[in-house]
């Protein structure tokens, strides 16, 4: 039995450390190239391990993303590391999407793939958004079960996936019949580096780039138009108050700190 895995990846800024310009109180752009969301990198590694361990049985890994045209570069890098194909959904109509509109677009992308999908692997969250919503929303949209926050993937056998996931109370060992969605913790694995052969082969691989119309997406449900939520205000948080400074030499500061701690804990 062949297994088709779709790994959803997002391009995120290479650093979430955004610098503020103290003079203008605005964000200083650093202009660095975007990277694959680190959680999604782990998702890809888990998918590739399923492929490694399939021992002869065909496993196909497709990387799927919604983003600007430059994101194709990142999908090609995923192929260099072992993915078989890439599909990039790129269209102005996708821009400004919240999680619901993103989920819809990804669902259209999945439906547009040639082969039916057995397993969708997502990073648990994106480092630039931290919402952790896409995986569970995809499960609902595709009407397949979702296992969130997978810490350890134990394998896929005869169409059944086993994994250990984090819960509020600890961890659970669970199993689910495919098709299913899983979202993965960043520490679950470390994405392998590509090989020279992989990098060279990926140059000739095709990363499909499709518009909303090409994947049959209703643009009323994509991008800004399809997003129920909207940002009404972004603001730089203000300092609430001034702290009392403890001054002097290091020794004096330490003396005062020791006193203070004693006062507080009394």
């Amino acid at each position: 039995m062949s297994v088709h895995i779709v790994v959803c990846v997002k391009a995120v800024p290479s650093t979430t450390e955004v610098k503020m310009d103290p003079k203008t109180n605005t964000i200083v752009r650093d202009g660095r190239a975007s990277v694959v969301n680190p959680f999604d990198a782990t998702a890809l590694e888990l998918a590739l391990r399923i492929k490694d361990e399939a021992a002869g049985k065909p496993v196909r890994v497709t990387v799927l993303s919604m983003g600007i045209p430059d994101t194709a570069r990142l999908l090609r890098d995923c192929i260099a590391r072992g993915a078989d194909a890439g599909l990039l959904l790129s269209d102005r109509a996708f821009a400004g999407a919240d999680t619901l509109a993103t989920t819809y677009a990804l669902t259209c992308g999945i439906d547009a793939l040639d082969e039916p999908v057995d397993l969708v692997v997502c990073g648990k969250m994106a480092v630039d958004g931290d919402t952790a919503q896409i995986g569970p929303e995809l499960g609902g949209a595709l009407d397949i079960p979702c296992i969130a926050d997978v810490q350890e993937l134990l394998g896929v056998e005869d169409g059944v996936l086993r994994a250990r996931r984090a819960t509020d109370g600890g961890r659970e060992l669970v199993e689910v019949a495919l098709p299913a969605v899983i979202t993965v913790a960043k520490d679950a694995a470390q994405l392998r580096m590509p090989s020279i052969a992989g990098v060279l082969a990926a140059q000739d691989a095709e990363v499909e780039v499709r518009t909303a119309a090409e994947v049959g997406a209703d643009t009323a449900r994509t991008g800004l138009s399809g997003s129920p939520t909207q940002v009404v205000r972004s603001f730089v948080p203000e300092r609430t108050h001034e702290a009392t400074a403890i001054e002097g030499t290091v020794a004096q500061q330490a003396d005062r700190l020791a006193e203070l701690i004693e006062e507080v804990l009394r």
Partner: protein, 533 residues
């Protein structure tokens, strides 16, 4: 006014450096600028008994050196870690940027400030600030010298003419320093700028700030044509600045540097290539060097080094995130490629893949780092090698505390690479010593580390190193290629240049530092320095 403090228990750490050897001292100071450096020297002179010799002064930076150059030999420790300000920036007509810094600026901090565009600009003049605006608006800049220990400071790096993996392409620190302020032992200052003062043959005239002219006779030796950090840089018609770079803190105290920045290359890719045996790795390196002109580094890790790493990876959680090494491969050559665009880099990559296949490797079993995350993984891998060997030695020291790692730092000319490797392997096998080797194979410069199991091994290793120093000298190589001579390798320096040339070096030093105060014990035995023995 800067304090001269008694070297109490509080400052005990300043008696040691990364070489793990320890010295003694009576006092310590932390001057913050050139004025304070001079004031400390002045105070020490005044304190000397009438007609007596002022206290020796050992200059320290970040104490990351491996040759004990910063370990005091009595007297005073002058630690420059607090002289760590950024002083200004200029751009020349060709567009190159020159950054003026104090010696205590830490390399990793400099890198961070350049990458994040956060150079501290306190006290900068308008011209510097204008240059900085241009620098930030343009392509990202970096400082090319990359010693493994990025917590090194720039003054220390200049003092020992530091190198790193990328020195294969960029050379050592020397070429990236355009000007220096050097405080002499008597407190006078020499300002040298590259291109402004050259020797006449082996005669160099230096004028100090106070207007004194020093007429220096330079030693007569010929330096080897290899990567070299052994003794003073001396050649006919040499630039004055080169005398001070790599002088191991023995001629003067660097109080200010102007360093040359370079634009970050558009593409930097790092490739770890694996081989079944050392012969294949050497042949590959020899074949690849001329074919990959854009290579910035060739680094080697031998089978024993990788084996130790494999064990530590299993045993230590700190190394658990290292990528797994396939047991099929014995040793590794890391190649770093730079290019102006991806297409060029891809061509080089294809060529590298072919060279690898030609030498029994597989282009599938390789690691290519093209992203920051992957580069960090590879960097972690490379740095984990020496760290895991240190852990092994620390383990052995529990049974015999006298044991330390013995690390060599010798280089030879290109055509001698196979020969020197044969020498290392044969002599190590004959002596029955445990070893691990890694380092800058592109420059035929390996750190061969003897890993003693007991005191006998340790003694045998030391003997072996002297033997290697002779053989390497005969091959036209250098006994210290990057760590400097410091206190630990001065015997090798004598092997390399002979007593007569050492005496010439000492005579040169005495012209600048008549009481042999500075860097006592570095390069020469103190007796030799004082003209005795």
């Amino acid at each position: 006014m800067v304090d001269i403090l008694p070297l109490s228990a509080e400052y005990e750490a300043y008696l040691r450096d990364e070489s793990r050897s320890s010295g003694t001292a009576d006092s310590i100071s932390f001057p913050r600028d050139e004025e304070e450096i001079r004031s400390v020297l002045q105070t020490l002179r005044t304190a000397a008994p009438r007609g007596g010799v002022p206290a020796p002064v050992t200059v320290q930076g970040a104490r990351t050196g491996l040759a004990a150059g910063a370990v005091p030999a009595g007297g005073h420790v002058m630690n420059l870690a607090r002289a760590n300000r950024y002083l200004g920036l200029r751009q020349d007509d060709a567009g190159t940027y020159y950054l003026r810094v104090q010696p205590g600026v830490i390399l990793s901090e400099l890198r961070r400030h350049l990458a994040n565009k956060t150079l501290p600009v306190d006290g900068w003049d308008a011209e510097s600030l204008a240059a900085l605006d241009k620098l930030y608006a343009g392509p990202e800049q970096f400082f090319p010298t990359d010693p493994t220990e990025a917590s090194a400071c720039l003054g220390g790096m200049a003092a020992c003419n530091a190198s790193g993996a990328r020195s294969y392409r960029y050379g050592p620190m020397r070429g990236h320093v355009s000007a220096l302020h050097v405080v002499l032992a008597d407190g006078d200052v020499i300002a040298v700028r590259r291109g402004e003062n050259r020797a006449q043959g082996r005669h160099l005239a230096l004028t100090t700030e106070s207007g004194r002219t020093l007429e220096l006779d330079l030693p007569t030796y010929t330096m080897p044509c290899t990567k070299n950090a052994s003794g003073y840089f001396i050649e006919d018609d040499m630039d004055a600045i080169d005398l001070f770079i790599g002088s191991d803190g023995t001629l003067g105290i660097i109080s200010e540097l102007e360093i040359i920045l370079a634009a970050v290359p558009a593409v930097v890719w790092g490739m770890s290539c694996f081989f079944e045996d050392e012969r294949a790795a050497l042949d590959f390196t020899v074949a690849a060097r001329p074919k990959l002109p854009r290579a910035a580094a060739f680094e080697y890790f031998d089978a024993k080094a990788l084996d130790i790493l494999r064990v530590q990876r299993k045993n230590s959680t700190a190394f658990a995130s290292l990528p797994e090494l396939d047991a099929a491969w014995a040793c590794c050559v890391y190649v770093e490629l730079e290019a102006d665009d991806e297409a060029t880099a891809l061509n080089d990559l294809a060529l590298l893949g072919k060279l690898l296949r030609d030498h029994g490797g597989s282009d599938r079993a390789t690691w290519v780092a093209r992203t920051d995350t992957d580069r960090e993984t590879q960097r972690f891998f490379r740095h984990a090698v020496p760290e895991s060997v240190n852990m092994l030695i620390d383990e052995r020291r529990k049974t015999d505390p006298a044991i330390t790692k013995l690390g060599s730092d010798m280089s030879v000319p290109d055509e001698r690479l196979r020969e020197v490797m044969d020498l290392y392997r044969t002599t190590l096998a004959e002596a029955g010593l445990d070893s691990a080797a890694w380092g800058h194979i592109g420059n035929n410069h390996l750190h061969v580390n003897v890993l003693p199991r007991n005191a006998q091994d340790y003694a045998a290793g030391k003997e072996l190193f002297v033997r290697w120093a002779r053989a390497v000298t005969d091959m036209g190589g250098a006994v210290s290629a990057e760590h400097g001579v410091g206190k630990l390798k001065r015997d090798f320096l004598t092997v390399m240049y002979g007593p007569e040339h050492i005496a010439q070096m000492a005579a040169l030093k005495r012209q600048l530092d008549p009481y042999c105060q500075l860097g006592r014990g570095n390069l020469f035995d103190p007796n030799v320095c004082e003209g005795g023995a």
